[in-house]
Symmetry: C3
């Protein structure tokens, strides 16, 4: 065999795929590495609070829905005592899922495992295990339960044994979404989008409106915050709100500004363009006013709680955005739409009209997030500079994230 070496070409030089650079997007590894993904799950998703839905979806004792994260399935169920709990969907016999479907009703307040018919109560206790030996300890085999808290109808869970405090989150939500009447709102529609991208790219996109003008023409036609110099419009909107006797304070305890031991939260208000009442195709009202509102103030309220759940409130409807990692390059975005509890479909609102803006916006986001994922996987990707100030929330999210997962190079 010849001794010369034909392949003398030097491979390209690759930038460091791990070391974050301040003010720049994250290095590649954070978007493609299975090891970092696993760390994300354990340190971010498993330790923080997640809003999994709204209490109005399970009004009766025994009503439940399930929430899946990583390899977990949680049964969110209303007990016969009216209390909503989060029970792990894992039978204590040989581990089968107990609820196969994503929502349902526990007849008679009992959850019966389909495999061997062990019977649990809607509150999680083992009621009966047929044919077990006499010395079997029934009381020691109830379903495992994780923390669940209800704030203005929003159902928050955490897998952490010792949970972060929710005092600040509660105050922020009460003085914002509470004012919009979310505590008694009702769910009218839910929709899931499966994004072929790492969950952080989805959240980073959610955090900034630098992309609104190029990617979301409809959103930009309605909302002002994609453009610079709209302070006057915001002030005018705030006056219209105050004129109704409504006060919704801005709050920022998000990301690294979270209080020690507390979950992070954030609330800010933005104006829509002159004459726009709500986030709808023509800007006109699509449902009855909610909560304390007696008129449209042309404002939108954005609330964040924890790393993966976001809320947007218009005067006549609201939406919950929940991002759930499915694998290193797959993320589910689940959206829940809310209206006034007394509103009647067909008479007071049309579901297609209420959901229109965020359906077209989510469809566009899915594409840009997925193309972002494809690009950052390249050897030629170099973390680029954030456009400040408009991408500041994204920058803050990535800094918080690096701190939470204890990235060596986070400063």
């Amino acid at each position: 065999m010849a001794t010369h070496r034909s392949g003398l070409a030097t491979a390209f030089t690759q930038v460091d795929v791990h070391r974050p650079r301040p003010g720049h997007s994250l290095p590649q590894a954070y978007y493609v590495s299975p090891e970092i993904y696993q760390r994300d799950i354990e340190r971010m998703l498993m330790r923080h609070w997640i809003c999994v839905g709204h209490a109005s979806a399970i009004p009766e004792a025994g009503d439940y829905f399930t929430y899946e994260l990583d390899r977990e399935s949680v049964i969110i169920i209303r007990g016969r005592d009216g209390v909503i709990r989060a029970l792990m969907n894992v039978c204590r016999h040989r581990g089968s899922r107990i609820c196969y479907d994503s929502s349902g009703h526990a007849k008679g307040g009992l959850l019966i495992c389909p495999y061997h018919a062990w019977v649990f109560t809607a509150e999680g206790a083992l009621r009966n295990a047929r044919m077990m030996p006499a010395d079997f300890d029934v009381d020691a085999h109830g379903l495992r339960q994780i923390h669940l808290r209800v704030i203005e109808g929003l159902l928050f869970i955490t897998f952490a044994e010792e949970a972060l405090g929710l005092d600040q989150v509660t105050e922020t939500i009460s003085t914002s979404l509470g004012v919009y009447g979310w505590g008694t709102a009702k769910v009218i529609h839910q929709q899931s989008y499966l994004l072929d991208a790492n969950w952080k790219l989805a959240v980073e996109n959610q955090m900034e409106c630098y992309h609104c003008a190029p990617s979301h023409p409809d959103y930009t036609r309605l909302h002002s915050q994609a453009r610079p110099g709209v302070d006057d419009m915001t002030a005018a909107m705030q006056s219209r709100t105050a004129a109704q006797g409504i006060r919704i304070p801005s709050r920022d305890q998000w990301a690294l500004e979270a209080q020690p031991g507390q979950e992070a939260d954030y609330c800010a208000r933005y104006a829509m363009w002159e004459g726009i009442q709500t986030g709808s195709e023509d800007g006109a009202s699509v449902a009855p006013l909610m909560g304390q509102f007696t008129a449209f103030d042309g404002g939108t309220t954005f609330v964040y709680a924890g790393p993966v759940t976001f809320f947007i409130a218009y005067s006549d409807y609201g939406a919950i955005f929940r991002f759930t990692p499915r694998s290193v390059m797959k993320t589910e975005l689940h959206v829940t739409w809310l209206v006034n509890e007394t509103a009647v479909a067909g008479r007071d609102f049309d579901i297609d009209k209420v959901t229109w803006l965020w359906r077209v916006t989510n469809d566009a986001d899915k594409q840009i997030i997925e193309q972002n994922q494809l690009g950052v996987a390249s050897r030629f990707y170099q973390p680029g500079p954030y456009a400040l100030p408009i991408e500041n929330s994204t920058k803050r999210f990535t800094e918080w994230y690096l701190h939470e997962i204890d990235a060596e190079s986070a400063a």
Copy 2:
């Protein structure tokens, strides 16, 4: 960047995912770990005997079918000498599969590799390799062959070079399935089910009837063994068998009771309910009596041989159950139905009626096994206690398994 740490929450406590606990279901790792799966393949599947089918499927010289396991494909072929062999489906030239289809016929008793047309005999020798150099050793390039044994028409193979003995298996099958005439039975139908679950969950389910009452109402309506205290029924059934001069001894050399150096086997008989003749929708006969039977005795005979093949014999039909791991969380269940070789479809039996019970039962098993897999993957799964005695065979299977794969903690 702020110096406080917002993520103080402690993650949940997880049970040991590897250490087995006596009398309990296996720890999580055994159902989800790719490393353990690979060990399963090498130590269980590659060292034990597997019944791949019945000789009646390949009656003529040159008839063959293939069996796939892991990355292997085996050609089960009847030679021109009438002998059935197991030839590896790998050409000795550059490794191509020789038989592309799952069954077929070697014309003229020759297997011709479609790639470069090397010609092998149905007995595995290389007959001709076109255009090879003069010094090429034809005799050294026959197809590799593995052990194959025929017992009452059942085709057993093993990938082991030094195979486990089959003396006990042979005796057990001869005195049970042989009595049912399986040696001359014929295959009338085959069906595969792809289960999204680790193979051990599928076998564990096959081993116990604790789940029969909740999961298999039809099976339970026909068979008695899902209920406690049916000894009288079994005794009555045995009398009916004996009255025909038939003796089918129970044998238990299964799992850790296997004789040294011998494959494991098991035979037990159970009664169906009063008046039930066979495993059919209405309990009435669906095919001519088989083997030595001259009347229906209301009994069912269960036979196991090795870790992944199981047999059930009714007086008028039989079924072979073969479990093949496909990946760590995928398993193929393949079922073969047999009737008396002289029976004629349409006249003597209706395939839909013969196969009905085990189709509905397998459909239900698929679902419960898959939901079991989903549950054991949870961080909150804890191995639970077996319901004894009704889950004793499952317990024995897991103990045997741990011993075979040399799990450190197997006692």
Copy 3:
């Protein structure tokens, strides 16, 4: 628990899956190992030249198509200066893909990233980044560019920073495909085949005609080189070529015969059977003569350049074969058909007739390559002896490959 060991069976003996044996096909690991695959990408694909297509596909300034390899996407685009460049499809802001589609046109000579609307020129410079801070360095954020060279209309790229020389490749292509007029030919059809096989099995198949007779009856009916002893036919063909004043020298600097620091190349000519004009269903002309040809000489010219691109030229049409690894066991074969630039579809040629032979041939190759992959994955696969001399090019390819990736055992 019993103390005897039932699983005494010894597993089969496996041949070494890594150590190559001279004159034999590669060991299994080279076709199934993700680690070796990654090494293949870095040492073969990323260091060698790849012909990605033909310049006639992008005639106008701003015209582009993309080429994907591993995690990379390259924009092959004609600039406003007429020069074709290879720009990495990765935005310098946060890494998004800029071109979503596999081909298109940059309007006004500008590529606008759909995410945040950064504007790049078709030559790769950053023209504008909206809303960026005043100190942002626009000039430092152009698109990254890799080497691209045009040889007789063929577009070659390499990801290597220090590229292999193309002097020899250029001479070989100029004196062969150049004579066929490829420099001014035009693309009439492109087609992709996704093969479920390692890329090396696809290239090994491309290199030899031992399989032509059994696998490609149509090809063999037209071309002579699948049969031994056709030297007379080749000499007759060469005379017919020379009679037109055309000289196409054979050249062999391929595989380990490549000049130091130069990319590998090869050119050889073969005769078709008596009376056959071109590679078509009936052997008759399917398009106008190309380049210097004034009559059909009954010859076919085969050219190789680098490890994954191959060319075949008939007197009236040509084809480019490009193999791109997609994953360890997936490979894309992309074929581009060329004719004389002045030929008009419908009048001078019928696309179905021009493409017929290589469509049926590729379809057959897809199947045999995939069955080869299945077979080599078996524990019972043993590298077999090449049929020499007819498989000599395949042997040379594997030796070159082992040398290039620095396989320890390559001698």
